[in-house]
């Protein structure tokens, strides 16, 4: 079991205070208004949790992965809609990638705006024809003197409206040398305020406080300093960002599920049926015990995955072991959390099915995570690949 440092516990206390006092009371309103209020974003910035993995030299808090997980856990307990969790996690995970592979010029330009909450820093790899299979994407990037020209489209992307309206952009991947497949892809930062970007919006099922959409990319010119890492090495680079996000998602799902179980426990202890509390029915207390056990296991595995990322950063880890444990942590994260929350909805009867009930919002939010940042099925492929060897992978 992971032991947290004194600083991590203090950080937990601060984020918990912020999430419970500022976010929880207005969480369901975020879905009604389809946005995270400006004062919440400002508060997150003042707390130092936006793009928190960026180096302090660029305005970040320089958090490691486990500490970023602590922040994610407390946000997930405070925000039943998951909106601020998504707003946080993409900037933490993809900020990590920009911090590691971005140019000095890009980091100086983007991070101060992202950490202050003025800009949104997102991730846009999915296209209408492919998501987790990034090589299946059609977007291209071509060198044009000292610049690059991007063409294509991205779809089902979080935070499109935020970046288009307030500024910022998304870390993106495209084919630079299509004939080389995965070995010919380049990762770069694409500002969504650039000429040639045409956004569209999608009405998502959950996490409604943050927008979801897509954008057409028509001859968008980006400077050379927006390229992350080496050209044509993007396929490998992008997976580090994915893995960071996946491990955070495991912790978020566990925390959202455990918070919902807490709501459920409070309910079944008070609510009486046939003259006794609901909690006394074996149907309920057995299910509670099973869900709690699964979610605690999930949380611990999530933190182990984050620790693997940290160890790798410290030169003590192993790339493939990290991929495996991260995939293991995310594989059932959404499913287990959804199952638990679904039961809590059931325990609460008609109230559970109403928009007033925070758990229904949590269910809709958590449901997205078996798709976002890599599907459940691909997580299985990764684990099996590490167990059986590359020659027996199902995708080759």
């Amino acid at each position: 079991m992971i032991e947290f440092t004194e600083e991590q516990e203090l950080i937990r206390e601060s984020v918990k205070e912020f999430a419970q006092k500022k976010i929880a009371p207005i969480a369901l309103d975020m879905e009604k208004h389809k946005e995270i209020p400006a004062d919440i974003i400002k508060g997150m910035a003042e707390l130092g949790i936006l793009a928190c993995t960026a180096d302090p030299a660029y305005g970040g808090s320089g958090l490691n992965a486990v500490t970023a997980g602590v922040v994610a856990e407390e946000l997930a307990k405070g925000d039943c809609t998951g909106s601020t969790c998504v707003f946080y996690l993409v900037q933490a995970a993809w900020g990590y990638l920009l911090n590691k592979y971005g140019t000095e010029e890009a980091k100086k330009e983007i991070f101060p705006k992202a950490t202050s909450g003025d800009w949104f820093l997102g991730i846009a790899t999915t296209e209408s024809g492919g998501g987790t299979d990034v090589v299946g994407g059609k977007t291209t990037i071509k060198k044009d003197g000292d610049s690059f020209i991007v063409n294509g489209e991205k779809m089902y992307i979080s935070g499109v409206r935020e970046a288009v309206t307030n500024g910022g952009g998304h870390i993106t991947i495209a084919h630079q040398s299509p004939e080389l497949g995965s070995r010919g892809m380049t990762v770069f930062y694409l500002p969504l305020t650039a000429e040639g970007i045409t956004p569209t919006y999608i009405d998502d099922l959950g996490r409604e406080g943050i927008s979801c959409g897509g954008f057409a990319i028509d001859n968008v010119k980006i400077p050379k300093h927006y390229i992350l890492g080496e050209e044509n090495k993007g396929f490998y680079i992008i997976h580090e960002g994915y893995e960071y996000a996946r491990a955070l998602i495991a912790v978020i799902c566990a925390a959202a599920g455990l918070k919902s179980l807490e709501n459920g426990m409070n309910y079944v202890k008070e609510r009486k049926v046939f003259g006794k509390p609901l909690a006394k029915f074996q149907e309920i207390n057995f299910r509670l015990a099973e869900h709690y056990t699964k979610l605690e296991m999930l949380k611990r595995l999530g933190y182990e995955a984050l620790r693997a990322i940290d160890l790798e950063q410290e030169g003590k880890g192993n790339r493939f072991e990290t991929s495996k444990i991260v995939a293991m942590s995310k594989m059932f994260a959404s499913d287990w959390a959804c199952e638990a929350i679904n039961d809590v909805i059931q325990w609460q009867g008609a109230f559970g099915y109403s928009r007033e009930c925070p758990d229904q919002a949590a269910w809709r939010a958590v449901r997205s995570f078996s798709l976002a940042e890599g599907t459940r099925e691909v997580m299985k492929m990764i684990v099996a690949r590490e167990l059986l060897g590359k020659e027996l992978t199902s995708y080759k």
Partner: protein
């Protein structure tokens, strides 16, 4: 100027658990926070702090109490002192005040000693006044705001039953602070939490403060707790959710039936 802020770590939950054999509030299994009155007192010290001034946060406790002092450092205190010794265990408010007064005397050269007016766990409101008495310095209690510190004097706004009093006092003194209902405690931001570990932090025992053991812990305590128990839980009241006119009618009917009116 040197400001010393006395802080206490208290259980977070309103649902306190007691050890009936020892007549103690149990800390195990309950998350802890800084006493909110003490955080308010610290924020008052930070408000009046000028360049060159120093704020020292001090607390009696054990290794777990360090986190409360680290929070004070993240909020803006310059130094933390944890008073952690077996001698200090089982102190009542008088022994607590003696420990704090001895440590504060050891620190020396202080202008204002800040305390929360009360703590949310035991709530005796005694430590501030006792500290002033032991140190033979003035005290002002129920202070809602420190207005200014000028020319060796401090001006404070203190609550009374009728309203407020503006009180001026010579330094040094003890201020027991009470937050207004509108008080929203600051939340320490992450970069300041990470920077807090670089600030000075001392752990002192009896010998470090050159204290008299007989005045500390159970030896120095004058209060004996006979029994510690929870008051009986109040039954949930009746809530009328009808339209106002109907609700008033129903309320009147019930009050009349119960012979309240």
């Amino acid at each position: 100027m040197r400001y010393i802020v006395c802080v206490k770590q208290v259980p977070e939950s309103n649902d306190l658990k007691f050890d009936p054999d020892e007549n103690k509030v149990l800390k195990i299994g309950v998350s802890t926070i800084i006493n909110p009155f003490d955080q308010f007192a610290l924020e008052q010290a930070i408000k009046i702090k000028n360049e060159g001034d120093e704020i020292i946060a001090i607390s009696i406790g054990d290794a777990e109490t360090k986190s409360t002092l680290m929070r004070c450092l993240a909020l803006g205190a310059d130094k933390g002192i944890l008073l952690d010794d077996e001698d200090f265990k089982d102190s009542d408010t008088f022994a607590t005040s003696n420990i704090l007064a001895t440590a504060i005397t050891k620190i020396g050269n202080y202008s204002i000693i800040f305390c929360g007016n009360s703590s949310i766990d035991t709530g005796s409101s005694q430590v501030g006044p006792e500290l002033a008495s032991i140190l033979k310095i003035p005290q002002v209690t129920y202070v809602e705001s420190v207005e200014n510190v000028e020319n060796g004097k401090v001006k404070v706004k203190a609550q009374t039953d009728e309203g407020y009093r503006i009180i001026e006092s010579e330094l040094p003194l003890v201020i027991a602070a009470i937050p207004p209902s509108s008080f929203q405690p600051n939340i320490p931001p992450l970069p300041k939490i990470l920077a807090a570990r670089k600030k000075p932090f001392d752990i002192w025992k009896t010998e470090d403060i050159e204290g008299d053991q007989s005045k500390f812990g159970s030896n120095g305590s004058v209060i004996k707790i006979i029994k510690l128990y929870k008051p009986p839980k109040r039954e949930q009241g009746i809530v009328f959710t009808d339209e106002p006119n109907t609700a008033v009618e129903k309320l009147m009917e019930l009050l009349s039936k119960d012979k309240v009116i």
